[in-house]
Amino acid sequence: MDIFDTFFNVPVLIRTFPLLMSGLWITVQIGVVSIVAGLVLGMALALVRLYAARWLQVIAKLYINFMRSIPLLVLLIIIYYALPFVGIRLSPFMSAVSALSLVSGAYTAEIFRAGIEAIPKGQFEASSALGLGYRHMMVDVILPQAIRIVIPPLTNNCINVIKDTALASVVAMPDLLKQATQAQALAANPSPLIGAAIIYVVFLWPLVAAVSRLERSYGKADH
């Protein structure tokens, strides 16, 4: 048996391809739901962290630091295996999405905060001086400018979330990695793992390229 039969076994790859694609579909579902939930949570946390009452700011900061420190795999295991003991029973899909969005929300909050803090003080003052209330100031003036700044780091965060969906395989979610490891066992051949790796790369490459492109074009933008 040479390396090609072991790792790049074309018949095995072809045979397991439909299985891998069904895994990719699950991965995409987990990824998209977690990213959207993480964005909403992150935006709310960032606003609390910047503008809420002092004690709420402290809570938001503690949450953010905690979620950024805990390994995602540990959090996922706690959610899936420990929470049932206190009566909270989540499906594998919900467990994976919860863990991913709780962590992604913490990272996203820090990205939004940096974006808002990068807006010059004069923009806040000009909005206030015109009589714009807090909501209009944020929606019409501050956030549209902050979004431009945060799109490259947010895209990076999306890439990380999609890669981290692979951890869902430990809670028996039939995502891309889980399907690949199962196919590997069935075929008694590790080629499906290589197939999964190729699919991850092909899928994420455009996002990675987009980040570099955005960073270059915003770097040139004159303001």
Partner: protein
Amino acid sequence: MGSTIRISNLCKKFGTFTALHSLDLEIAEGEVVCVIGPSGSGKSTLIRCINLLEPFEPQSRILVGEVPVEAGRNLEKVRADVGMVFQSFNLFPHLTVLRNVMLAPMRVRGLTPARAETRARELLARVGIEGQAEKYPGKLSGGQQQRVAIARALAMDPKVMLFDEPTSALDPEMVGEVLDVMKSLAGTGVTMVVVTHEMGFARQVADRVVFMDGGRIVETGTPIQIFDHPQHERTRNFLGAVLNH
């Protein structure tokens, strides 16, 4: 005729530094007041207190019309009636010139987009920028940007216009175009408070000049009184330093 702005016992501290020592000042409706004085004398702080961009000490009192300037419900209303033009323009870079002028009348006054646009185009024509309405602020010169900022403030039909060193960040050849717009505005009956280093403008346009130093109002008077017959040593020294060049 009533006072549009009534300031009494205005005190402001930055930490342990006292920026304003118990100022009193009344500004009548339609009056054009120029505030002059050396850097760090508190002139910018004074006008930034009028719309509460700078919070002041609790014993101080400022009324705009009959409304007290204080945090809370009334603040947005006071701010809507008090226009401000900043040294660094502070236009919204992600909106076109036209949208910059339209935004606050739509959001705060509830104008329809069509009415806000008509009004914005009128004002842009008045400040001589009508040809640039669809451009983004970054494409305009400093003088043009500052004229847009004036139009943006005027779009709210303010009772009072505050100018915080409006020409200090401009290249010298653009100062004139901004001062011309301000001169024509002074003739329309809008109450204006102008912090400025342009002594020629103050002499020509102001109804009253306020000279500040060290966080205090040293003297106030007509331009002729202040520029030709200053009563205080400090006023004479300041004017001597800025005029004899």
